[in-house]
Symmetry: C2
Subunit: 432 residues, 2 copies
Amino acid sequence: MNIDLLVTNCAILPAPGREPLIESGYLAIGAGRILASGPMAACPEATATTILDGHGQLAMPGLVNGHCHAPMVLFRGLADDLDLLAWLHGHIFPAEARQANPGMVYWCAKLAAAEMLLSGTTTVADGYFLEDEVARACAETGLRCVAAQGVIDFPAPGVEDPARNIETAARFIERWQGRDPLVTPAVFAHAPYSCGHNTLLRAKELARSRQVPLFIHVAETGKEREQIAEPLAASPIGHLAALGVLDRHTVCVHCVWADDRDLDLLADHGAAVVTCPQSNAKLAAGRAPLAAMLRRGLRVALGTDSAASNNSLDLFREMDFAAKLHKVNPSDPTAVPARQLLRMATWGGAAALGLAEGHGTLRPGAPADLILIDRNRPRLQPWHGPDLLVYGGPGACVRNVIVNGRLVVRERRLQTIDLRETCDRVRRLAMK
Amino acid sequence: MNIDLLVTNCAILPAPGREPLIESGYLAIGAGRILASGPMAACPEATATTILDGHGQLAMPGLVNGHCHAPMVLFRGLADDLDLLAWLHGHIFPAEARQANPGMVYWCAKLAAAEMLLSGTTTVADGYFLEDEVARACAETGLRCVAAQGVIDFPAPGVEDPARNIETAARFIERWQGRDPLVTPAVFAHAPYSCGHNTLLRAKELARSRQVPLFIHVAETGKEREQIAEPLAASPIGHLAALGVLDRHTVCVHCVWADDRDLDLLADHGAAVVTCPQSNAKLAAGRAPLAAMLRRGLRVALGTDSAASNNSLDLFREMDFAAKLHKVNPSDPTAVPARQLLRMATWGGAAALGLAEGHGTLRPGAPADLILIDRNRPRLQPWHGPDLLVYGGPGACVRNVIVNGRLVVRERRLQTIDLRETCDRVRRLAMK
């Protein structure tokens, strides 16, 4: 066993929401994967290049953020507490039109990647334009990403002529497929109201031919059907089904306004869902029927959406919010329990995004994407079980982060990029 | 000017939700109070005992947690995702009966105080039994508290004979009034369903005679009226009004099930409210009519409730949750804006608890209770305004905390108590 990194003396949660905690164990990591793990008594004597003493820490799979627009950290707090349309048309779209260029996308995505790593996320599914820069920024920062190039029937950053939106996405996939172990390229069709039939069909065809996932915002607001030109069904999700773009490799983001028939369609086609409860709440878009989705066995990931509508990329906070929101309305304190959130935020979410079996766990063979949480912080005392990882707010207690076998956060410090330079760059962009 | 502590080179938010940010300023502190503050250009040349360079940090008033049961950190995560009655009767009450004794209350309150200070809270209104131990623990840890001795018509920890509940509270007030600048004693009548008419009247009479606030849980769940023996009105709040226990020094905690008539009663009597949205959501108790309360001009504080039903005492997270919960249901993205939460969590909350004018601000004369937040953390980049303090999750970014002029947290480390010993003690209690 060629061990690059040996983590010792830590508690281990190998598959959150499913497997029990190992009180004191080890994790052997090599070639970017988990080679072995178990109780300390069974720790191999083999020499490792690096040994990380995890005493007082809990190792768990890094979190999987199912939906983000990383470069939008630039607009974090630019315009809060506004009506969705006033927010979008009065603030976000004009700011994007002025500001979105390769430099902005690169530096802001780097800041977002830093924020996610430092709060325990090790994989993000991102969708934006000029997505090469997001992929480059994530890879440099050490965050794994499913990077989806945006497709929309309007001029967009880097795609002035919408007629070239599919071609741009195709070239993006060509450039990134097989290039970097941290980057999986994908397609992000913006929404059924911003992409016509032809664009949706071509986007899905592209995704199918390259065997990459297709992401799409759908059923975010109650008025969406009215915004779709020539809807083919009674609902936006029905429209996608009628077009034939729903399958196991289509990831439907939001699905707030999904009724039972819509959920049937998603289940019948095996489509995956990403729910973004804080963004949907802050913009008053609504509350997705998460409990019903889980009952139906849909693959569901949890996403922060962008920092412009959240305004944090801390997925631990998203878990906590989701657990409570779905209990208070409708009133059921047993709805969406903590263990389901832990699963959605790790291996369940990874499965929804189409990542390989084992991703989001610490089982042998899985990618070595894990975080070590300081168990000695007051907010994590005492320990009555893993629910604490949902309700205790451990995003503030992440000490070490390993992605693809590399220690990217060590003792709360990012090892990969110059964080100060990144913050300075983003601050200067924000002053414009 | 006798300056004990001079904070320099920091951004300052003197009265969150009302006054603008000073970009680079100073704060002079002496005898536990703010002596002066302003832009760096006007910083006095006087020698100070201690100088704290606040470069890269933002100073704001420490947060005021309007409702807590600090010792219940012992039960954090003991029983999540359960029905309220199953939770209380199956888990919390039995655990309290077994465990609540002076040692448990003291050590657990110390842990809670540490958690609150480290996440930016500098004042807590606590209500429990054996409250002497809570007051002692908070004072030692350096957290300001309004410590309210519990009154209930059942045997309780330290009050085996309920006939002595008022007398016990009276002695508690005698022991603490004027004794420690950090401790304000008070009375906490548990609820209208657990305290009979006579107990409520005597508790209020005691509070009036000693000029201390009376706290009471009221209208937490929809079934509460049915639980009140001989209700005097159509609602629990009406019952309190009919008894004559509502006035400007009565603090009504929860008020989830308050209709327009109840809000009128609260307004007419000038009673204050504490809202605990996360606890109410997690237990599926409901959603308080917060927007309506604020429209009516009620004094409202924000509280975490106990760690057993939250499960964190980070009031920054409470602000964020409240802002979003009240936007999504009923749907209004402009409801309960960030600035209102900032106000409720600082000087507005202090006013609701009956603390002196200026408390919760950084104005000259105010108690020197303030926190310094690391502005350079990625989650707080870039800065478009103070809303970020609600939506960005700054509980993880608190670097320095000053209470009553004393630096109790310095560079993220608690200066006052042995945190390791405290954690060990609580862990051992939890293992029982």
